[in-house]
Subunit: 342 residues, 2 copies
Amino acid sequence: MTIEFGIASLTEHVRTTADGRTVTAPERVQQLIDLGVRADQLGLDNFALGEHHSPDFAVSSPAVVLAAIGARTEHITLGTAVTVLSALDPVRVFEDFATLDQTSSGRAEVTVGRGAFIEPFTIFGIPVEEYDAVFDEKLALLLRLRNNETLSWRGRFRSPLVDAEIGPRPAQAVLPIWVGVGGSPESAARAGRLGLPMIFGSLGLPMAQVKTLADIYREAGEHAGHGDRLRLGFGAHFFAGATAAESRAVFPFYRDFLGPKRPGRGGMVVTRAHFDAGFAPQSTRYIGTTTEIIDKLGALHELIRFDRFQALLDWGGLPPNLVDDALSRLATEVAPALRNRS
Amino acid sequence: MTIEFGIASLTEHVRTTADGRTVTAPERVQQLIDLGVRADQLGLDNFALGEHHSPDFAVSSPAVVLAAIGARTEHITLGTAVTVLSALDPVRVFEDFATLDQTSSGRAEVTVGRGAFIEPFTIFGIPVEEYDAVFDEKLALLLRLRNNETLSWRGRFRSPLVDAEIGPRPAQAVLPIWVGVGGSPESAARAGRLGLPMIFGSLGLPMAQVKTLADIYREAGEHAGHGDRLRLGFGAHFFAGATAAESRAVFPFYRDFLGPKRPGRGGMVVTRAHFDAGFAPQSTRYIGTTTEIIDKLGALHELIRFDRFQALLDWGGLPPNLVDDALSRLATEVAPALRNRS
């Protein structure tokens, strides 16, 4: 089995970029569509979009944008990073992605997560104090919807279903549902117990910590008898430059990618020192030359044997030609060098 | 102002057609996408898809299918017939269609209705006994979402919003919101009072009855001071044949279009006598030769001065070549003959 290579965008909307450009909301959405089309042309395996309920991001309804990309592509799978299942109705999520699966001739995937921001909880009236219970219930319902054409169901966070036929059915026999995990051991264990594929999004954690989470996932999955169904994905910040100097020069764009998008808003403070620390061999951030990245990502694969790598290379404010360069290097240099590792 | 001509499909899925063909769910969705693309190529003004939560129809999430069509078209507007607003969350409806508006560079529309079927109420846990109150509240919220980038709101059928920023904002300055009405005078008066464009979907009602509804709409609108904002759309069953005989021969397909899609399911019983009655000059059904249709639709326009005509010519089981013939005649013969009537 070869390793899959793809990209994900959280759809950050940096309105004024570090090099002084202005990016409007329609331009940002068009960038995302073009990115998906280009990733398909370059032969990458999958493309995923974030879902955010805040003006700091461009996309709140990824299935709609993915359908537009699906209409202009042939092979790439279309997924999310992540669908904030806690905030949504699993029935409507299933309808949206089964419909996407129909329009894209079987290329839809859903990656569900609990969500890292407060906005979706407040906007959709979800009790944050029930954070775990809400997600458990909604994921269980989504899995039942996937596996049953007709179902009856009763729970705490949604009205009951009685002999309901939820449609359409996806074009694929089974709609792929991944669990997106941000670093919580409990979430990794849950994904393993359920026998679901898991993608782990790292913000540059040390490799040893990533290994711990991978082990928790696989042990929980094997203990539950799902050993042969487990698949591990790994997502990370990525930029492949023409030279070491070019890759070091993206600092201001990386800072604005993670920082507050508007004055007074939340975000991470990324200092130059923090940025520089990410070049350490043990960090799971992949900014550098192609050679540096192949070495570092190869070492991670040696350690955790991931089945899928998802590069976060679209940072909102990064100049489009640099995004495209990084994308090309991922598809034509990094992926070919690592794809057949076992 | 010219009259707009478009088409709508309710997305009926007739699995075994009157001429013995089998239509799978993926084929049906592909037909709908092709239909939208073809309507754009032929220069029609708008395309609308129904939303249904039942396996008798192909589409439950029209924004997703419309995004796929939008990616392959340039000019046609992309709307619904109708969005079952009563069953959905207005916040999510706004997010979906604002996103569609972004991906399609400003071609999204929403036509909201109360829904004609029970399934969405049971599936989404909406109290049917509050049919009117639910719709009123949700429509008011949707309009507030359209008109305000930030809002606080409190109602009975959804959790409150506090200084919520719902996004993305649409690409158009104002997302068009139409009200779809099936024949209820109260609904027509509500649309007029709100100063919203209204589309009236007729199942072949007598012209006099259509006139009454148009008058109610316009009087309510003018009384509320919205005289210059009113726009009246009219949707009807349509088939334009090469000859009178060809147009009379579509009876079995029309019967299956309106009839139960599966044994034991709901639907209308269409007898040959009912079908034949629709050819009467006073009926608002448009099956016939191009000449017959131009005369009959011209007479309706004389009576109610509609601003938009929406042809329901995609009946699920009707052979695709006949659908395409009817579509071509609508775009190249009927629309040019009537478009500039005043």
